[in-house]
């Protein structure tokens, strides 16, 4: 069974909606995103939701094979087409006929094969190696890459015309660190999956604190890396150990508080602590538990500035008043504000003698 597309973030919901709207169009799709974000899962979802789901889903990894092998895999060959071609073999274009051809790592396809691919996509025809016969092909092409193809075009390693032909529908999957909301449901899903696959495993689910740490780790390897961690947890059953082994990311964040002797330079969690510090400050003024849409509505720098300065002012006023025995005119002098302003602020912040 194929993996479902898991996520509750705005970007994932949008991707699901997009899949739903285009699955029956059979228009070429280009899926982009960092390694491990789930490009193949998206391709599978497109296929499952389409009216081609009863046909083949054929995958080929364009980076894994040398050029000549990739060519014969894609188009097949006739008997005797080259040394070692003892019998005729159909290519992926043939096996995927009426179904889906998933071209993974298309950005790594050699230029010569890109031209041939372009020709097949334009004409809907191909011929196996060593054959002069043209075969019609009806495949739905879904391509994926973690390269920036626009850059590859500028560097002349990817054909512009092929790019435009593939880029009819573009699905961009953001990295996991940009959609932390998805992490809890991914953890939940993979925990359940591995529990059914290995029922004897003892690994415990993360508690609230661990979950928080997991959500704040930047996951350079994205969902695949998270998946591996959960698999490992099923075996070692120690989140501490798992965190120890996670590579530290974003080294620029590490030398943070040099004066703090407890701050181990080598700790992989400085990034997390920093993020956590930031989040805890922000959470004092904004409710972070709401949806990102609502959250962005709530975040106004002006509003937050006012809330933050009010809080500090209240503390300072209370402190000074306490030191001068609640003599307000003395306090106003010390604070270098007018008596009237002090009275106003005291009533605004509800500062009263104990």
């Amino acid at each position: 069974m194929s993996t479902p597309l898991i996520g509750v973030s705005k970007s994932m919901l949008k991707i699901k909606e997009l899949i739903n709207h285009v699955a029956n169009t059979c228009l070429n799709v280009l899926i982009t995103g960092e390694t491990g974000v789930g490009k193949e899962v998206v391709a599978q979802s497109l296929y499952t939701e389409s009216n081609r789901s009863s046909q083949h889903f054929v995958k080929i990894n364009c980076a894994a094979l040398p050029e000549t092998l990739l060519e014969s895999e894609l188009y097949g060959y006739e008997k005797g087409a080259f040394t070692g071609a003892h019998k005729k073999r159909p290519g992926k274009f043939q096996t995927a006929d009426k179904g889906v051809l998933f071209l993974d790592e298309i950005g790594d396809m050699p230029l010569a094969l890109q031209s041939k691919m372009l020709h097949v996509l334009q004409s809907g025809q191909f011929s196996p190696l060593g054959s002069d016969q043209n075969f019609k092909t009806d495949v739905w092409v879904i391509a994926a890459t973690n390269h920036n193809l626009e850059e590859a075009i500028r560097a002349k390693t990817f054909r512009e015309d092929l790019f435009y032909r593939l880029n009819i529908i573009k699905i961009e999957i953001p990295p996991l660190r940009q959609r932390k909301e998805d992490i809890p449901s991914l953890i939940e899903y993979y925990f359940r999956l591995y529990k059914t696959q290995y029922p004897n495993n003892m690994g415990s689910k993360p508690d609230a604190e661990t979950l928080n740490r997991l959500c704040n780790y930047p996951w350079p390897g994205n969902v695949r890396q998270l998946q591996n961690c959960i698999k490992k947890q099923m075996v070692v059953n120690s989140w501490d150990k798992i965190f120890e082994e996670l590579p530290s990311e974003h080294p620029q964040n590490i030398p943070r508080d040099i004066s703090n002797p407890l701050n181990h330079e080598s700790s992989p969690f400085n990034y997390n602590e920093e993020t956590n510090d930031r989040m805890s400050i922000i959470s004092e003024f904004v409710d972070l538990s709401t949806s990102s849409e609502k959250l962005f509505e709530d975040i106004s720098l002006k509003k937050i500035k006012k809330l933050a300065s009010d809080r500090v002012e209240k503390e300072v006023i209370t402190f000074v008043l306490g030191r001068v025995g609640w003599n307000r005119s003395k306090a106003a002098k010390i604070l270098k504000i007018s008596y009237k302003t002090l009275l106003y602020k005291m009533s605004e912040f509800e500062v009263a003698p104990p």
């Binding site: 997009l18 169009t25 435009y164 009819i168 529908i169 573009k170």
Partner: protein
């Protein structure tokens, strides 16, 4: 009094979109806009019969103009389609292949686009496509 013609204009550049909106509005059209092909497709699937003509940019995120044109040609056959491109020949050629009624290249004069819209919509009473 005749009903105003209704346009759906699609472009991922907000400035262009609002310029088009103002211009066609002032020319007496009823205009709706969308920031990419996906937003446009959702509008169309909600109320396809509302629109008479689609004016779309080609290179856009999510669903490109070429994708939108292909879908419209299949699902909303009554719509006239004008494709506008600023990206050289490639997308323009694909838009013709997808059977856009007219492909125009940027930069282009708004009045010229309006002329094109007017003539496309006037031979609505059935000159099969030239």
């Amino acid at each position: 009094m005749t009903n105003p013609k209704r346009l759906l204009i699609v472009d991922d550049n907000e400035d262009i979109l609002s310029t088009f909106y103002e211009f066609f509005n002032s020319m007496g059209y009823e205009v709706k806009t969308a920031g990419d092909g996906f937003v446009a497709l959702k509008l169309l699937r909600d109320e396809a019969l509302f629109f008479d003509c689609l004016i779309t940019d080609l290179v856009m995120p999510n669903i490109s103009g070429v994708g939108l044109i292909s879908i419209v040609k299949k699902e909303f056959t009554h719509l006239k389609i004008i494709a506008i491109t600023g990206y050289g020949d490639q997308p323009g050629a694909l838009a013709s292949e997808a059977k856009a009624d007219i492909v125009l290249f940027k930069p282009i004069d708004l009045f010229k686009i309006e002329d094109t819209v007017a003539s496309l919509l006037s031979d609505d009473n059935d000159n099969p496509k030239v």
